[in-house]
Each structure stands twice: as structure tokens, then as C-alpha cells.
């Protein structure tokens, strides 16, 4: 299976789509739009999982796809939107790194991911290799987003995107047990609940979602 064959091309296309959406997450300033991009990434992830299930002939991956479609393209963005509405952030703009620097940093991280992932996996299938490189890029871009954003909700979005990258890596590898994906999905829902609580508390106490304001309130004697 290689370049020019349908399973490879579609998987590559879907993975590339996720990477593209990660870049959009990186530079998008408007809070509401960021959540929409996350939903789109979840949907593409669901498609990628379903395609892998079809290609590998592994029916449990359809379940993964279903979870991704329901949770990541549906429930999580809905919950985030609800939070944004409650907090009146719909038109909010987050001060992030500029478009130029964030895209340059992102490209550098993708290059690093390819340089790391491709030589390690020599001997593996071309599909798995490309998939791993793309998944590692998505993970790194999610982390970069967590660092560059100051708004707490958008840091949560970065974490979700990072997790999307992990699931993409997991579905790309034949024979990954379902329990891994199920536990990751459960973990993400828990993280969302915790993050929601934290965000509301911050809003209540500090009247802001800027995580920089948390610093003076650390529980340490100075």
C-alpha cells in the first residue's frame, strides 16, 4: 500500500485535513470560531477512524469513529459553546501569538515531527509512518496552542486537539486494543468537566479567564 492507492490516499487526505485544522486552531483569534474548528477536527477524526476501520477490517474502529463523532464533533463543542454563551465570550478575541510567528513555529514543529517519526518507523507500512508523523504533528501543535493562548477555554481546546492527535495515532496502528481508545475518551470527558468547573470558578472569583491572573493566587507562601 503506497502513494497512488485509494486506502493510502484517503487516509493521507483525512490526516492532512486534521493537520490543516490544527493550523487553523493555532492562529484563529475569535473564540467562537476556534470551537467550530475543533468540532470540524473531531468530525475529520471520526471519518479517519471509520476509514481505518474499513481498510483494516477492524469493526471496533467503527465504535471509535462513533465516539469521536458524538463526543468530539457533537457534545464537546456544544458544551464549550454553552460555556461561551454563559460567559458572554461569543465575540471575544484572544490575544495569541501573531499569525506569522505561530505559523512559523507550527511549521517547524511539523518538520521536527517528520524528522523524528519517519526514520524510527523504517520498515513499517508507509501508511502507518505517515499517520504517525501527522499524529505527532497534531499533538505538538495542540501543545503549542495551550502555551500561546491565554484564555482558559482555549487552553482546554488545545488539550482536546492534542488528544485528537493521540487518537489519530492510535487508530492508524493495526491491532491497538479498543480499551485504550475508550479510556482516552472517558478521560477527555472528565477533563472537560474539570475544566468547566475551573473556568466558572475563575470567572466568578477573578472576573476574567486570563490564566496569567492566576499566578498571584498560587497556594504557596511567598
Amino acid at each position: 500500500m503506497g502513494f497512488g492507492q485509494l486506502p493510502y490516499d484517503v487516509a493521507h487526505l483525512l490526516g492532512g485535513g486534521m493537520l490543516l485544522l490544527s493550523f487553523m486552531l493555532l492562529y484563529q483569534r475569535r473564540v467562537a470560531a476556534v470551537v467550530s474548528v475543533l468540532a470540524a477536527q473531531g468530525a475529520v477524526l471520526a471519518l479517519a477512524a471509520a476509514w481505518q476501520g474499513f481498510v483494516q477490517g477492524a469493526p471496533q474502529l467503527y465504535l471509535t469513529a462513533l465516539i469521536a463523532a458524538v463526543a468530539k464533533a457533537g457534545l464537546i463543542p456544544l458544551a464549550l459553546r454553552w460555556m461561551i454563551r454563559r460567559l458572554a465570550l461569543a465575540r471575544g478575541v484572544d490575544a495569541a501569538l501573531g499569525i506569522g510567528p505561530s505559523l512559523m513555529a507550527g511549521v517547524a514543529l511539523v518538520a521536527l515531527a517528520i524528522m523524528v517519526a519517519l526514520p524510527i518507523t523504517t520498515g513499517a507500512q508507509a501508511l502507518a509512518r505517515e499517520d504517525l508523523a501527522i499524529a505527532l504533528s497534531v499533538v505538538l501543535l495542540g501543545m503549542l496552542m495551550m502555551i500561546t493562548r491565554r484564555n482558559a477555554i482555549l487552553q482546554v481546546v488545545g488539550l482536546m486537539s492534542l488528544e485528537n492527535g493521540l487518537v489519530l495515532a492510535a487508530v492508524g496502528i493495526a491491532g491497538m486494543p479498543l480499551v485504550v481508545e475508550l479510556s482516552i475518551a472517558a478521560l477527555v470527558m472528565l477533563v472537560l468537566v474539570v475544566a468547566g468547573v475551573v473556568v466558572f470558578q475563575m470567572r466568578e472569583r477573578l472576573d476574567s479567564l486570563d490564566t496569567l491572573l492566576l499566578h498571584p493566587h498560587r497556594g504557596e507562601p511567598e
Binding site: L109, L112, A113, M115, V116, P119, I120, L140, M143, L144, M146, I147, R150, T211, L212, L214, H215, E220
Partner: protein, 664 residues
């Protein structure tokens, strides 16, 4: 044979478990008796293997780390040290039976750890045994933890033991393989070999107490109970030297360059001199003995360094001479130092103190212990015909042959080492004389010392074993060296012959030889002659008069054993050497405070010394640790984003390193 030895190690582990069982008063005799029995078995097995033929091959145990079983083997080197372990372990276990059993769990583990380290045929097993030995002995040092000084000593000991482990693990890791046979087939080269030399020397040196890593030794050895300090000084330092010899002389092989011997020679000479000098200045018997251990470990290290130098210069007989000196002195010191620590313990039991200023006149109360002490101290002072003289004679002969090393630099170094070694040996003799004179001669210095009784029979048996062996090795050093011949071959090559001439030992292709039996004959002849002359010129009946009290006024009548202050004191006997040598080497100080006329305060003379060489490294390390901790503390002040960025940057850095490594 190997299976029997492995079973012996397992039984030692079972004894440690048995000590946990509630056996009441039976626990001590069972565990210690079992340890003594197994030690005797080790000694018999090792001695038999050396005399009759070593077991071939390697025993692979059915368990071990993930990549394969642990392996045991017995070659000449390990059998020689196992013999020492068995003999000293037997003596110390017997001695321990004489007092209520304490530390019964750690005692068999300590013995077993040393046995495992000696029998190991791969790096993993060796490190495992070495660390087991360190941990078990730490538990034994910390046994009397109610005293603050002992807690401090145990803490320091643990730090140095951990440091030794931290150095030895990468040293064995750099060898490229774990199995010893595989390492010998492909010895390390280039920077890896140099790194192994440095790490091995520091790691094993820290455990053996080589200068400048000896700070813990004079603190930890006295802090432990007597049988433990006997084993620690007699055997544990030798296990560290075994690791050093195994790593540098055997595993790294004869391909290494000759300069490898120089650091060993230099560090050994420094240790020998400093240890011997300190042994003269300390006023605690066990501390002085521990300092003498530093000296003797230094002498063995010098001999190992010489063996390396001669081997690289292709001087086979000289290398065999130096290696024989190292092995014989390791055995001799292991026996007489174990004996001396047991004597110090027996004296502490009987006279209630380890301080020389509270002992004295014990030769009347403890004649048998005094004989044992005389044998041990004579050997430590290198007096013929005892074992210490034979081995140190070999070492000095090897040093005297240093002119055969082709290069002028090495010749000068060997000559300097000769001078330092001779000075160390002379200082050690002075220290041993001082110990015996203050503890056993003269009159008691304290009421408790005046009421001393002879040691009990277990303690006497424990002291008798190494005393007899010290005399035997001294009388028949040729036989001992013949036993050590397989070990010498491991160290310097398969063609080496031990420096033996019949029952005597010889150096330099028979140019000089030392025959103890002839020496003892001459000595006996001279003594008999002296006795005859004295008898002829002295009155027929011996007359006892009052001892001259050095010009002091008579002691008050309630001082039945005389005024202690009219006898020489430990500090007084140390004063000349402290003034001569202490100033430069040990930062000795002396201050006289003389009050003005009319001031009722007493005049004071304060003297002391500080071992700066020992303190230099630990204090600097502690300062570095504080600085690093201060810098790391700043990380806690990072913002949320800063912390996230730190983790992210670390990840990216590691990935970049990975990518770079792959690209190479």
C-alpha cells in the same frame, strides 16, 4: 562446587529471614552460628579450589534480570578474596556469639552480599552484591542510632556508598557488555576506557576509603558494633579493591596503556601516608585502627598500580611481584585488621572504653587478649616474622624495581612512591607501638580499666582464628603466595609465576629473598643469647621495686593504680609527629592561653588537627548542591504558562535530540 557456593549464599539469605522469626534467645546462636559455619565453608571451598583446581565454567542461575540469568563463577582472584571473606567472617561470627545478638537480619545479608559480589561473573550480579553489602553494612552502622554521632556517621556512610554506586554502575555500563567473558573478548578502548578508569577508581575508591574520599571511614567503622567493624575494615574494603582490580586489571585487559598505573600509585601513596599519620594522632582505638586501614588500602592500591605499570612495560616477573604483593597484603591486612578490631572490641567490653586515655595496664588483666593484640599490632607494624612484614617487603621490593620502567618520569614516580611507602610503613609501626603501649602497658588510667577481666571464650576463639592465621601466613608466605598464584595470573597474565622460592618469597629473579623461618631462627638465637647474658650479670632472685613515677609526687592513697596524669597520654605521644608532619598534611594547630599574672583562670594548651583532604570534596559538593537547589527553587516561581512552556520545550528538545541522533 559453584552450586554449593550458590546454595551457601541462599542459606545466608534464609538465615536473615530466620532472624525475623520469633525465636527468643535462640536467634543469636542460630544465625551467628550458621554464619560462622557457612563462612568456614566458604573458606574451605575457596582454599580447596585454589589448592586443588578451580571449577571450570560459569553457573547460570535460573533467575535474574530481564535479559538473562545471573551468573556465578570462581576464578583465582575471586577465590582468593572469598578465602579472606570466609576466614574473617568465621572469626567475626565467632566473636559475635560472645555477646547478645544484635543486627541479626543484616549480618548474614552483609556476608552474603560480599560473597555474591566476589562470585559474580557478570556486571549486574556484581553490582547487586556490592550494593547489598553497602546497604546491609549501613543498617549495621546505624544499629546504635540513639547516639547522634552514630547517626551522623551512618548518614555520611550512606551518602558515600550511594556515590560509589553512582560511579560503579556507569563504569560497568561502559564496558559494553555485562558478561565478563564477553568483556574480556572485546575490551573497551579510547575515551570509554579512560572514563571506566576514572569512574571505577572513584567508585571503588570511595568504598575502599582512598584519599580524598575517606571522610566516612574513620567515622563509620568505629560506629558499628565490633564484629561489624572488623568485617568492614578487614573484608569490605578488600571487596572494593577486588572490584577495582577486577575492573581495571582483568576486564579492561592488558591492552590498556601503562600510565593507567600512575593514578593508582599516586592515590595509594597519598592514602598510605595520610592514613598512617592520622593513626598516630587519634586517641580512640577504633578510629586509629580505621585510619590504619586507610594506610593499608593505600598500600594495596599502590601495588595494583605498580602491577599495571610493570605489565604494560612487559616486565612479567616484576608485574607478578607487584600483584603478589597486592594479594598477599590484602589477605594479611584483612586478617590482622579484623583481629585488631576484635581486640579493640574485647578491650571495650572489658575496660569500658575505646579511648586510649582511659585504658592501660591491660596486659595483666587480659593476658590472652594481649598476646592476640601483640600479634595483630606486630603484623600491622610490619615486624618479621609476621604476615605484614612479608607482604610489605614484597611491595617495597616491587617499588625498588621501579628503575626498570623505561621512562624517566615513571622511574622518578616509583622512587617517590618508594619514599612515601617507606615513610607510611614506619609511621604505621609508630602508631601500632603507641596503641599497644597505651592500652596494654603501664598502669590503669581509670577505675573501670583497673577492674577489667579477660574476654569470654567466644571472643577469645574469634580472636584466635585470625591470630593463628596471621602467624601462619607470616611463617609460610611462600605457601600463601602459591595459593594466590591463580589470582596473580588473572591480574597480570597467564604466564605469570608467583614470586616464591620454596617456602620463602623472593624478588627479582632470585636476587633477594625473605625466608621467615631463617629470620625467626636468627631472632630466637639472638634472644636466647641476650637472655643468657642478662641471666649471667643479674642477681639470682628478681627484686621488685616501686615504679618510677616520672618525677611526679606520690599519688594520693585512694588512687590504688597510681595517678593517671603521671603516665604518658595519647595526645602526648602524638605530639612530636603532630608537630613534625601534622602542620602541612593535617592543618594541625596548637594554641597556648596563658592568663596574666594574678588571673585565677588556668593556663590552657589546645591542640588538634583537621583532615582538610577529607573535607575538601564533601564540603565543595555540599556547596554545589546548595547552589543548584537555589537555582531549581526559582523554577517554582514560574507562571502557569511558564511551566507549560518548560515541559513543552523539554519535549521538543528531546525530540530534536532524537532526530539528530537518527540523522547521524
Amino acid at each position: 562446587m559453584l552450586t554449593a557456593l550458590a546454595l551457601g549464599l541462599v542459606v545466608l539469605g534464609l538465615l536473615a529471614l530466620a532472624a525475623l522469626a520469633p525465636m527468643g534467645r535462640l536467634a543469636g546462636p542460630v544465625v551467628l552460628g550458621g554464619s560462622a559455619f557457612l563462612s568456614a565453608g566458604f573458606a574451605l571451598a575457596a582454599g580447596g579450589a585454589l589448592a586443588l583446581g578451580l571449577p571450570e565454567g560459569v553457573l547460570v542461575l535460573p533467575f535474574g534480570p530481564a535479559w538473562g540469568g545471573m551468573t556465578l563463577a570462581l576464578d583465582g582472584l575471586s577465590a582468593w578474596f572469598l578465602l579472606l571473606l570466609g576466614l574473617a567472617g568465621l572469626a567475626a561470627s565467632l566473636f559475635a556469639l560472645g555477646s547478645p545478638g544484635r543486627g541479626l537480619v543484616a549480618w548474614p545479608l552483609f556476608l552474603g552480599g560480599m560473597g555474591l559480589a566476589l562470585l559474580a561473573a557478570d556486571g549486574f550480579t556484581l553490582i547487586l552484591g556490592f550494593e547489598l553489602m553497602s546497604l546491609a553494612s549501613w543498617a549495621l552502622v546505624a544499629l546504635d542510632h540513639r547516639e547522634a554521632g552514630n547517626r551522623e556517621a551512618a548518614r555520611l556512610y550512606l551518602i558515600f556508598a550511594a556515590f560509589a554506586g553512582v560511579c560503579l554502575v556507569p563504569a560497568f555500563g561502559l564496558l559494553g557488555a555485562l558478561d565478563f567473558a564477553a568483556i574480556r573478548a572485546a575490551p573497551p578502548e579510547g575515551w570509554r576506557a579512560v572514563a571506566i578508569l576514572a569512574l571505577g577508581l572513584v567508585g571503588a575508591g570511595a568504598k575502599a576509603g582512598l584519599v580524598p574520599l575517606h571522610l566516612w571511614l574513620p567515622l563509620a567503622h568505629p560506629a558499628a558494633p565490633t564484629p561489624v567493624s572488623a568485617l568492614m575494615s578487614g573484608v569490605m574494603t578488600k571487596v572494593a579493591l577486588y572490584v577495582l582490580a577486577r575492573l581495571l586489571l582483568d576486564l579492561c585487559g592488558p591492552v590498556q596503556p601503562g600510565w593507567w598505573g600512575m593514578p593508582l600509585l599516586a592515590i595509594g601513596a597519598a592514602s598510605a601516608l595520610l592514613g598512617a599519620l592520622r593513626a598516630n594522632l587519634e586517641d580512640d582505638t577504633k578510629v586509629a585502627l580505621a585510619c590504619s586501614t586507610i594506610e593499608n588500602v593505600g598500600l594495596v592500591t599502590m601495588a595494583l598500580g605498580l602491577a599495571l605499570l610493570f605489565r604494560a612495560a612487559d616486565l612479567g616477573p616484576m608485574a607478578a611481584l607487584a600483584a603478589g604483593a597486592a594479594l598477599l597484603h590484602a589477605m594479611a591486612h584483612g586478617l590482622f585488621k579484623a583481629l585488631l578490631f576484635l581486640v579493640a572490641g574485647a578491650v571495650q567490653h572489658a575496660a569500658g572504653s575505646r579511648r586510649l586515655d582511659r585504658l592501660g595496664g591491660l596486659i595483666h588483666a587480659m593476658p590472652l587478649t594481649a598476646v592476640a593484640a601483640l600479634i595483630g599490632l606486630g603484623a600491622a607494624a610490619a615486624l618479621p616474622p609476621l604476615s605484614g612484614f612479608a607482604s610489605e617487603w614484597l611491595l617495597l621490593q616491587a617499588l625498588l624495581g621501579g628503575w626498570r620502567l623505561g621512562e624517566i618520569g615513571l622511574q622518578v614516580a616509583a622512587a617517590a612512591a618508594l619514599a612515601l611507602a617507606a615513610m607510611a610503613v614506619a609511621l604505621a609501626a609508630a602508631a601500632m607501638l603507641r596503641l599497644f603501649g597505651l592500652a596494654f602497658l603501664g598502669r590503669p588510667r581509670s577505675p573501670r580499666g583497673a577492674g577489667a577481666r579477660e574476654a569470654n571464650r567466644f571472643e577469645l576463639a574469634g580472636m584466635a582464628v585470625p591470630a593463628v592465621l596471621t602467624v601462619l601466613v607470616g611463617l609460610f608466605p611462600g605457601l600463601a603466595l602459591a595459593l594466590a598464584a591463580p589470582g596473580i595470573r588473572v591480574l597480570v597474565g597467564p604466564a605469570a609465576m608467583p614470586p616464591v622460592v620454596g617456602l620463602a618469597i623472593g624478588a627479582g629473579e632470585g636476587h633477594s629473598a625473605y625466608a621467615p623461618l631463617v629470620v625467626i631462627l636468627l631472632l630466637g638465637l639472638a634472644l636466647v643469647l641476650l637472655w643468657v647474658v642478662v641471666r649471667r650479670h643479674s642477681p639470682a632472685v628478681a627484686e621488685r621495686g616501686p615504679a618510677w613515677n616520672g618525677g611526679f609526687i606520690d599519688a594520693p592513697p585512694e588512687f590504688v593504680f597510681g595517678d593517671p596524669l603521671s603516665q604518658p597520654s595519647a595526645a602526648g605521644m602524638a605530639q612530636p609527629l603532630r608537630r613534625m608532619l601534622g602542620g602541612t598534611l593535617l592543618a594541625a594547630r596548637e594554641a597556648v592561653t596563658m592568663p596574666r599574672p594574678g588571673d585565677p583562670r588556668p593556663a590552657r594548651l589546645e591542640a588538634g588537627f583537621e583532615d582538610r583532604a577529607a573535607l575538601a570534596l564533601p564540603t565543595r559538593t555540599a556547596r554545589l548542591r546548595d547552589a543548584v537547589a537555589g537555582q531549581v527553587e526559582r523554577l517554582r516561581g514560574l507562571t502557569l504558562r511558564g511551566s507549560l512552556s518548560l515541559g513543552f520545550a523539554t519535549l521538543v528538545g528531546l525530540l530534536a535530540l532524537l532526530a539528530w541522533l537518527e540523522a547521524r
